[in-house]
Symmetry: C2
């Protein structure tokens, strides 16, 4: 159970790269588009009594009187504005509704999410509903006093407000034609002013005072009555929004302005609300613990906040931005978020894979670290990403990867991205049985197999199933893995047992794909390679250490949890025979289970708070990967090590206390977020809903666990 209700969360439509970020008390937040961190608006939600006492939620930092920029005037006297204390506020944080309650007032933020139907299949109503760039709010004020109150919802931003009533029959505020909020309640009135008190104490509200930084709506709540007002919070960007390639938001196929978005959203309020309630119910009845439910809800919100559904020459281009970094479709995140997307809309995964295949792939040569000026045939691989902050990189290049760096941040991830693309293809195909995808990419799968093999060793005689050669793109440097900010235990690509796991899974994926294509020779070749990888790894267990060291060179002695990470892939692709303790990989599985049982202890791969530490030698643990590896430990290995509840509790604490100002974050050092803030990747937690055992809530007995 979380120890505080004061933490930011994304509240986002699907695919609009937009968020109404709110929830940390005494902090700014609010509405922003295409931003890698919370907005810096002050949000005012509360009520003012006729006698001049204003009570509101503390959704703002210290207040600055913007009027002082124009004229230094004496402050008003006798005004009383009260922020609710944290102790007066209850927050219920469900999957699609985030509700704050305080004396006299409830405020809910409703963020429906659901399957996005494939845009290639004409279904205008469904696509319009899914792409509508709006979320919802609902304010209920219960006036149990003897005087009349005036409820309000208002935002202080950096840009001027325009009253919505000048555009259509709604009331509300819009700014730059890009964002705004609206109510269709006829009893609501609009105001723009320097302050809530200034606005509401006036005889005449000033909705044309565009100079005022605070735009809002207000409504009377007579003594002894209650009133509920529904609002839509919408976003809109027209025209081309990307640089170096031209694309617009998909929703512009249906909406031509912020006001049409707000109208449509309010008309569909009930339907959207029902959808949100359905999601809430699904999670509540999942059998997962409250901590697990929290982490799923929190990560889902941050995932959608980073999504960007574009239209390019009338075809969809799906993008997930990389949280605070805003990198476009980082491929090593795609693979982690694939589980979530396959659950809701598998077409987005295919869409991204095709963008990589068609625009962001390249062919290189490889070299041995022992002889870095002798080049050998390499093969196809895929870029780390496609650009940053709406700026597309030139084709065949990521914005991230730089030459000349030896196994440090910003070097190439050629090998890992190759495995990521291959495995994602397998996840997609095994979920959808999409024959068109299979056939279209048949020759590319062969090229991937060839590329994997060459990166082991161009000489087939010398292969051991692990990556041994680096890409010529590094210009003599050394490749890294997605764990770019960790030490070599997870950061170095060559001979890394984490990456070797992905190699193994890639070969198994290719076996599956080649079999589906009827190419049994290639399938057999791939399976043979997987066995070689597993064999090398199995024999690398170090009995004196009690685990398999992270990097099979230079006497590395780090213990890492993600040695097991790749087991998820055959599991998800239905290749469960390969996870059978009596199957062809029995030795490999037994070795990894032994490894896991050793490392899951404090001082090795557990922090003192019980949270998981991915590497024994690096104080930098990634929540997305923890969720993924938890599933493997509990659901695939059936290990119940006794610290599950403590771990989840620690991870919740990392998020709500550690990362309270940045919504859901990924990288933590001893519970403090140090990077990958405001991040989409943590939706690996969606896997937990698939856990047959619901093992992590620790309520299932170990006897039951042993059976899985």
């Amino acid at each position: 159970m979380r120890k505080t209700d004061s933490f930011h969360a994304h509240h986002s439509p699907m695919g609009a790269h937009a968020s109404f970020t709110l929830g940390m008390f005494g902090s700014n937040g609010g509405m922003a588009l295409e931003k890698g961190k919370p907005a810096e608006q002050s949000v005012f939600i509360g009520y003012r009594s006729d006698s001049g006492v204003t009570k509101q939620f503390p959704f703002y930092k210290e207040l600055v009187n913007e009027a002082d920029r124009f004229s230094l005037d004496e402050n008003s006297q006798g005004v009383k504005t009260i922020s609710f204390e944290e102790s007066q506020i209850q927050r219920s944080y469900d999957w699609a509704i985030d509700k704050f309650s305080a004396p006299g007032i409830d405020f809910s933020i409703i963020t429906p999410f659901f399957e996005i139907s494939d845009p290639a299949i004409e279904n205008k109503e469904a696509l319009k509903k899914a792409s509508c760039p709006s979320i919802f709010g609902q304010i209920t004020i219960r006036n149990d006093s003897n005087e009349d109150w005036e409820g309000f919802f208002a935002i202080q931003g950096d840009n001027p407000w325009t009253p919505l009533s000048s555009r259509n029959d709604l009331k509300g505020m819009i700014s730059r034609d890009e964002l705004g909020f609206a109510s269709d309640d006829p009893d609501v009135s609009e105001f723009i002013d320097f302050g809530i008190e200034t606005a509401l104490s006036k005889e005449h509200k000033t909705p044309n005072f565009l100079l005022g930084p605070i735009g809002g709506i207000s409504f009377k709540v007579a003594a002894g009555t209650s009133k509920t007002v529904r609002i839509a919070l919408g976003f809109f960007k027209s025209g081309n929004v990307t640089i170096n390639k031209e694309a617009k938001y998909w929703y512009t196929n249906y909406f031509d302005s912020i006001e049409t978005v707000l109208s449509f959203a309010l008309e569909g309020f009930n339907e959207y609300l029902d959808s949100a309630l359905d999601s809430n119910q699904k999670l509540k009845s999942s059998g997962l613990s409250l901590d697990q439910q929290f982490l799923i809800a929190h990560s889902t919100r941050s995932y959608y906040g980073s999504t960007q559904w574009l239209s390019e020459k009338n075809k969809a281009r799906w993008i997930v931005n990389e949280g605070e970094y805003l990198m476009i479709n980082t491929l090593d995140l795609t693979i982690d978020m694939a589980f979530f997307e396959l659950e809701y809309n598998p077409w987005t995964l295919r869409n991204v894979l095709e963008q990589f295949a068609n625009e962001y792939s390249y062919v290189d040569q490889v070299f041995s670290p022992d002889c870095n000026d002798e080049m050998h045939e390499g093969g196809i691989s895929f870029c780390h990403d496609m650009g940053v902050a709406n700026h597309f990189s030139p084709n065949q290049y990521s914005c991230y990867e730089c030459a000349g760096i030896d196994r440090k941040c910003f070097s190439y991830m050629t090998y890992e991205e190759l495995t990521n693309w291959v495995i994602c293809s397998g996840l997609y195909y095994s979920k959808t049985s999409d024959q068109d995808f299979l056939n279209t990419n048949a020759s590319l799968f062969s090229a991937c197999l060839n590329s994997l093999l060459n990166r082991d060793n161009p000489n087939p005689e010398l292969r051991n199933g692990l990556m041994g050669f680096d890409s010529s793109r590094t210009l003599g440097g050394g490749e890294i893995t997605t764990y770019d900010s960790l030490d070599h235990s997870l950061g170095q690509a060559r001979n890394n047992v984490y990456l070797a796991g992905k190699t193994w899974a890639s070969y198994l994926t290719l076996e599956l794909l080649f079999n589906a294509l009827g190419k049994s020779d290639l399938a057999e070749n791939a399976l043979t390679s997987a066995k070689l990888t597993a064999s090398t790894l199995s024999s690398s267990f170090d009995d004196s250490l009690g685990f398999i060291p992270a990097v099979l060179e230079d006497g590395n002695q780090s213990a890492i949890i993600p040695a097991i990470e790749a087991l998820i892939y055959p599991y998800m692709m239905g290749q469960k025979g390969y996870l059978d303790s009596d199957g062809p990989f029995s030795e490999y599985l037994a070795m990894l289970k032994r490894h896991t049982e050793y490392v899951l202890k404090k001082g090795v791969c557990l922090y003192e708070d019980g949270g998981w530490k991915l590497s024994s030698s690096a104080d930098n643990s990634w929540m997305s990967k923890i969720c993924l590896n938890q599933f493997i430990v509990h659901e695939i290995f059936g290990i119940n090590y006794g610290g599950e509840l403590e771990a989840d509790n620690a991870h919740v604490e990392w998020q709500v206390n550690g990362s309270k100002s940045q919504a859901c974050s990924d990288q933590f050092a001893s519970g403090k977020p140090i990077g990958s803030l405001y991040y989409p990747r943590i939706v690996t937690s969606i896997l937990w809903l698939k856990a047959k055992s619901k093992a992590f809530n620790n309520k299932v007995k170990s006897e039951e666990l042993a059976k899985t």
Copy 2:
């Protein structure tokens, strides 16, 4: 002479609402569009020796290593980066070239400005040249050492860079397709990186590293040689840029991208440079003191930084944004900037006047403060402004004026804006003899006369020539003047002698316009009214005080310099007979001269530093108005009070020390800028170039002054 070279200045194209703001050492600045304050970029200009020592200008705040957001890595060792000390830097700040010199390097920022031809008259080449949204830089590096150097120009911004070479045959960096810099020198190369040292020490530069925050160009300067590189710094916004009305930048009629802007600018480099040199020469040979030259150059830069030349349905819409406040065409600034615009491009003034007449005028009623529920016929007036930050207000409303405020900031300026529109029309007509303007607005001039008279008193019997009634738009409040942040001495409109001066000038303006229209009855009516105003004012001189009090009611005893402000208008309109000490206003002029001689002393309307204090009762003095009133004191009255040099020196100090972080600012309290920062209005200083006596440099003998 200014005591420091460390201060920000706008460096802007004409009409692009854009600036490359630079010059305060140890501070951020750089390129921004449509912003009411300096950009927050770090700008790196310098050279690096082959042995790894980098020397650069201090155009940045403390440096943050953005790479740390991705991975906490050990810092590089042995790197040496040196910022030039202030004592090593010389700055020559001419009208159109701002040049910084330090050991081994010169950097000039070239901001040509010149007449903008009337867009209504087809002259594509001239209009394209004038609207091209670019300024220029020139770096010269003199390598007198024994090792090779690499010169660089680079910017660290908030948005990703794209290498320009991916777009055309120039080298440089562009961001969001909205701003960038370029060189056409074939020896220049591009880089993007986390730091200058990181970039230049690499064997392979990384121009595709879009994740890097610093984009730049560099060039080799061999030992013992010199090299000069010319760059263009361009801005570009495509499509509709305004809200609530649709307009695009005028330059989009000729340019379709940032890269076409940069190409055109570099092709015209020599021609633009010649224009800048001409401006420099004109100011240098003006006979004005160095302090005066500085204030003219500084204010000119901030004026152009606020200009925004738009195109709406193929017709020009000229906007000057109100500095930090970004209000659109504030009419009480228009009148002060009219002198500058009439010198360079009178059509911009007509354009603004017509926008007010057609969209931002209204008809009200008036009431007496003694009886604020009895309404009388009012008349036409004009809004304070047209909106803010590209958001247009609804027609007939400003973004600024609010009802229900009694003589405080944000109340209505109905009366003053009426005088401003009338006087601007007279200034425009007397400069241009534009008969079309005269005829088009003939009936509006009559309405203005009627409106002025009604605001004195609806009952002709009771008129005294001053404003006595307030607008119904205030809903029972009280009007203010442009001096909204001062006390009632200048802030209250009713019975204010500053505003009464403008009333007098308005009547004289109308006389001129009606005579031009052949409406001699109305002309005579107007002149009679002017005489009534002058007579009332003349008789209000308070012998016991020694000056005319600022407000002719409630026993006000403030002394204000701007009692004389309106004398500038008949002077500029060629109505010099009315300024003749033996003419029809001899008594009024003598009274004002006596007033002026009294107030221009320390403790009354001079600060201890000799700077001018507009009101004896308010510590808030406006530089724009000081420049204007200085001209009147010296050039019209011929007063040489002996403190001229000290005053100009103080005013320079207010700007370069007081407002060093905000370029040219307007409102100062005891030399500290307290509002109206980054402001266009101070171009009233252009008047000094018209001074026949060049009186203010105090070199002309007092005998000569007496003759004028």
